[in-house]
């Protein structure tokens, strides 16, 4: 049946949890209509906080957010407005997807072309000016209920924010909650939503239990850095940064607790994507790729994934050995100190003690370099491996969108055939009623088919833009990181030079 082909396997999956927005927001579940109309309900449920480009036909986009309050649930009165004729400018955050406002076909062009283009034009490359810092990790509470609170500081002259600089306190599940909302709103229409950092049961348990040792400090720092990178990537995206959830996350002092964050980390996202991919592969109808660009890009990302994983493995090895070097250098420093202490010859003893000190300083350099190796390269590569998972996800969503469209088309075809058969029925009294029913169904299906085609074109268009932006960002990102890394290399060597220059006279003074 086409239903089964369209959706992932019926058991409770992460994918379903995301699609069924009931679980994300604490409001009671909405009723889903049965039959063909269920499609529409699904669309609404996932698009309840619809993508912003659809509302951009308003002159001043910024005004939209002045009225943004909380997220909308399926049950709220706004939903009824969705189902009626067209968006009201007052209901800003929840303007519907094009699927519901089909009657206003004249707006199509605006939604699909000018709205997004408007954003692109006004953004440009230079207009992005935001800096987000995640700092001051603070343990809140005790025992297994404890958590880390991080300070999120945003500095920006951009006018869409009320103030130029502001801070809020957030915990890890808040970040996951933000990501889940963005993923549910944007992934399936082709936007590459940056994945949230990984959950780590082991790392977090140590922190909760109160182990104040180096490994738990490292864990907190690693997480802090990852959260910062995550937010920066998210706000760099011209559409995402205008999302009310993002803005609320950054600005609002009170944030409703995100529940059910189990599935929403990037590991969960990966599982979801893989399941979706599997579902796509199991589809009886294989997509006819009419656009070579997509085929080429998919292959490109497959290759890139493999290459980046290899690079990541190389860097991990480098980081590991660098840390080893630091440990060994420290041990050598100690042994040199002992040697200096035991040495009878005064000047030699002094030189050996200096040697021990130099080695200790060099050990610190090794540690700094290991950190650079890790936080710059290793994390960058890890981020991109995870980002590519999101990219693959949008490609898969495109396939699903295509599949939906094809399924509608097949259904329409069947209905038309059924209609044709009706002509030859022998029950004239029921005939007219049946004919009317079928005509209605055919009309609905026809609209659905057209919507399906539009959705497919829209997602294809969005993906093209997203991929182009992603690729440009990738080059910029790598270049920035490499420059930082080279700066660290140069600095290390210059420090070494200072240490050796200081030691040389000591060595010469031995006799």
């Amino acid at each position: 049946m086409s239903d089964r082909a369209r959706d992932p396997p019926p058991e409770r999956t992460d994918f379903e949890e995301l699609e069924d927005a009931d679980d994300l927001f604490p409001e009671p579940a909405a009723t889903e209509e049965s039959g063909p109309a269920s499609l529409t309900a699904e669309d609404i449920s996932t698009n309840s906080n619809g993508p912003k480009q659809d509302s951009q036909f308003d002159e001043d986009p910024e005004d939209l957010f002045a009225e943004a309050t909380e997220e909308v649930s399926l049950d709220s009165p706004e939903r009824d407005v969705l189902l009626s004729d067209g968006p009201s400018p007052a209901i800003t955050p929840i303007t519907p997807p094009t699927s519901v406002i089909t009657p206003c076909l004249g707006h199509d062009d605006m939604f699909t072309h000018s709205s997004f283009d408007e954003i692109e034009e006004e953004e440009g490359g230079d207009l992005f000016d935001m800096h987000i810092a995640v700092s001051d990790p603070e343990k809140v509470g005790d025992g297994m209920n404890a958590y880390m609170a991080y300070k999120v500081t945003t500095k920006t002259p951009m006018s869409m924010f009320k103030r130029g600089e502001f801070s809020v306190k957030r915990r890890f599940s808040d970040f996951l909650g933000l990501h889940s909302k963005l993923a549910s709103k944007y992934l399936h229409i082709g936007y590459i939503v940056p994945p949230a950092p990984e959950k780590s049961i082991v790392g977090m348990t140590k922190v909760k239990v109160g182990k104040e040792d180096q490994s738990s400090n490292e864990f907190v720092e690693k997480r802090r850095s990852a959260l910062e990178r995550y937010l920066m990537r998210t706000v760099k995206h011209p559409v995402l940064r205008k999302d009310p959830d993002v803005m609320q996350f950054l600005e609002s002092s009170d944030l409703p607790r995100a529940v059910n964050t189990q599935a929403l980390s990037s590991a969960g996202l990966l599982r979801m994507v893989n399941k979706a991919a599997d579902a796509v592969n199991k589809m009886t109808i294989k997509m006819n790729e009419s656009d070579a660009w997509f085929e080429e890009k998919q292959q490109h990302f497959e290759n890139l994934d493999v290459q980046l994983r290899k690079l990541h493995a190389s860097v991990e090895s480098l980081v590991c050995h660098r840390k080893e070097l630091s440990v060994n250098t420290a041990q050598f420093a100690k042994s040199a100190a002992m040697l200096g202490n035991s040495e009878d010859h005064t000047a030699l003893s002094r030189a050996l003690s200096q040697l021990a000190e130099v080695e200790e300083k060099i050990d610190q350099l090794h540690q700094d370099q290991a950190n650079a190796d890790f936080y710059l390269f290793s994390e960058l590569l890890g981020d991109y491996v995870r980002l590519i998972t999101a990219v693959k996800g949008v490609f898969d969503h495109r396939m699903k969108t295509w599949q939906k469209w094809q399924d509608s088309q097949m259904l329409l075809q069947k209905k038309r055939e059924a209609e044709a058969k009706l002509q030859f029925t022998n029950k004239p009294d029921k005939l007219q009623q049946a004919k009317d029913e079928i005509k209605e169904e055919i009309e609905e299906l026809d609209a659905k088919v057209q919507q399906g085609e539009r959705d497919f074109e829209q997602i294809s268009k969005t993906i093209r833009k997203e991929v182009s932006r992603f690729e440009k960002e990738r080059v910029k990102d790598f270049k920035t990181i490499i420059i930082k890394y080279l700066e660290s290399l140069v600095q290390t060597q210059q420090q070494m030079i200072k240490y050796w220059e200081a030691f040389l006279p000591e060595a010469r003074a031995i006799s």
């Binding site: 290459q307 035991s342 009878d344 010859h345 790598f478 420059i483 030079i497």
Partner: protein
């Protein structure tokens, strides 16, 4: 085939201070060293091929020289451990720094040994040295005689003597200090070796990273792809540069401080062995004295002779030992200073070169469109 060497000493016909081990050749399992020494009279050199068996032969003859009173008081220049071509993990541990770098450090260590032997007043007159350095035939591929200084097969009761209290404050202090120093130096040498081995691992990891980057280079006219490919190529060069830097750092470590610590460590062991020999002689002497005292008149005269001989030997040994220790102390300080200065200078040079190199890459990346 060489015959037993007459234990007749004569002046060495080559200079000791500039002996060179110029080459090492691998032939299956055997390593052959090419040793070059300069003639004392006139110009000219001797080039000889020697294997480790020949070195052991030399050692035997040095140990068993009979006409030197107090020979046991000599701190014998320490010979490097036997090199294995297919070296086992245990062998590597034994060789330490000398097992690295394609035998170059080993050649240096061997060279040092030969120079020390050929410059030692008491040892250089041994004919074996002359033969070893100048004879075109390899002196001894014969089975070696039982080594009287084969400490590995020392009986347990001999080891007991190590702690035997000394009659001389100077020597007691020397033994105590030596005990501490051998431990500390061995420890420091092993730790430093770990540092060098890890540096080598890092160099290899940089190489892998560099190679992996090359795999990311993509053909095509897409400007973004080209930009990323350029970045990968350049970064790959940076990683190669990092690799070379690490290898230089490791090499500097081995060739200067590594060899220095290794030699110091082996020399401390050599002093330890000398001091032990003297201690054993002391025990022998004290035993002889007691025997002479307790001896019945019949044996008394003989015992007295034994006692006198022991006394005389012990005096000789102590005298030689004192000289050797003084020499040893001044040489080792000089040697370590050279090692430390050389180490610092080389690392400083490498750091300056690397700083320049990395800076150039940094500028190139900054300038990249």
């Amino acid at each position: 085939m060489m015959e037993e060497v007459q234990d007749v000493t004569s002046a060495l016909s080559v200079h000791g201070h500039n002996i060179k081990v110029t080459d090492v050749l691998k032939d299956g399992d055997t390593l052959t060293f090419v040793i070059v020494s300069q003639k004392v009279s006139g110009t000219g050199e001797y080039h000889v091929d020697r294997t480790y068996d020949d070195v052991e032969w030399l050692q035997q003859h040095l140990f068993s020289q009979e006409d030197v009173p107090g020979l046991h008081g000599v701190i014998f220049p320490p010979v490097p451990a036997k090199p294995q071509v297919n070296v086992t993990a245990k062998g590597m541990k034994q060789l330490g720094f000398l097992g690295l770098g394609e035998w170059q450090p080993y050649c240096k260590a061997l060279e040092t040994f030969l120079r020390q032997v050929a410059s030692h007043d008491l040892l250089k007159k041994n004919k074996a040295v002359e033969i070893f350095l100048t004879s075109s035939d390899p002196p001894g591929r014969q089975r070696v005689k039982k080594n009287i200084f084969n400490w590995l097969s020392q009986a347990m009761d001999e080891m007991r003597k190590e702690g035997h209290k000394d009659v001389d404050e100077f020597f007691q202090a020397q033994r105590d200090q030596n005990l501490v120093m051998t431990g500390c130096t061995k420890n420091a040498t092993e730790r430093f070796l770990e540092v060098v081995l890890t540096e080598q691992k890092i160099a290899v990891a940089c190489g892998h990273f560099s190679a992996a980057l090359h795999l990311c280079v993509e053909a095509g006219e897409d400007p973004v792809k080209q930009a990323f490919s350029r970045i990968c190529v350049k970064l790959s060069e940076v990683l190669e540069s990092m690799k070379k830097n690490m290898m230089s750092v490791a090499e500097n470590n081995v060739n200067t401080l590594g060899l220095g610590l290794d030699l110091e460590s082996r020399y401390q062991e050599a002093e330890k062995e000398m001091l032990f020999r003297r201690t054993c002689k002391l025990v022998e002497l004290e035993t002889a004295r007691r025997s002479a005292e307790k001896a019945k008149p019949v044996k008394k005269a003989a015992m007295e002779e034994v006692k006198k001989a022991a006394e005389s030997e012990f005096d000789h040994i102590s005298r030689v030992a004192k000289q050797e220790i003084a020499q040893f102390e001044s040489e080792r300080v000089q040697m370590l200073q050279q090692a430390l200065v050389g180490w610092c200078e080389q690392q400083l040079l490498t750091a300056k070169e690397s700083a320049d190199q990395f800076d150039r890459y940094l500028q190139a990346f900054r300038g990249m469109a």
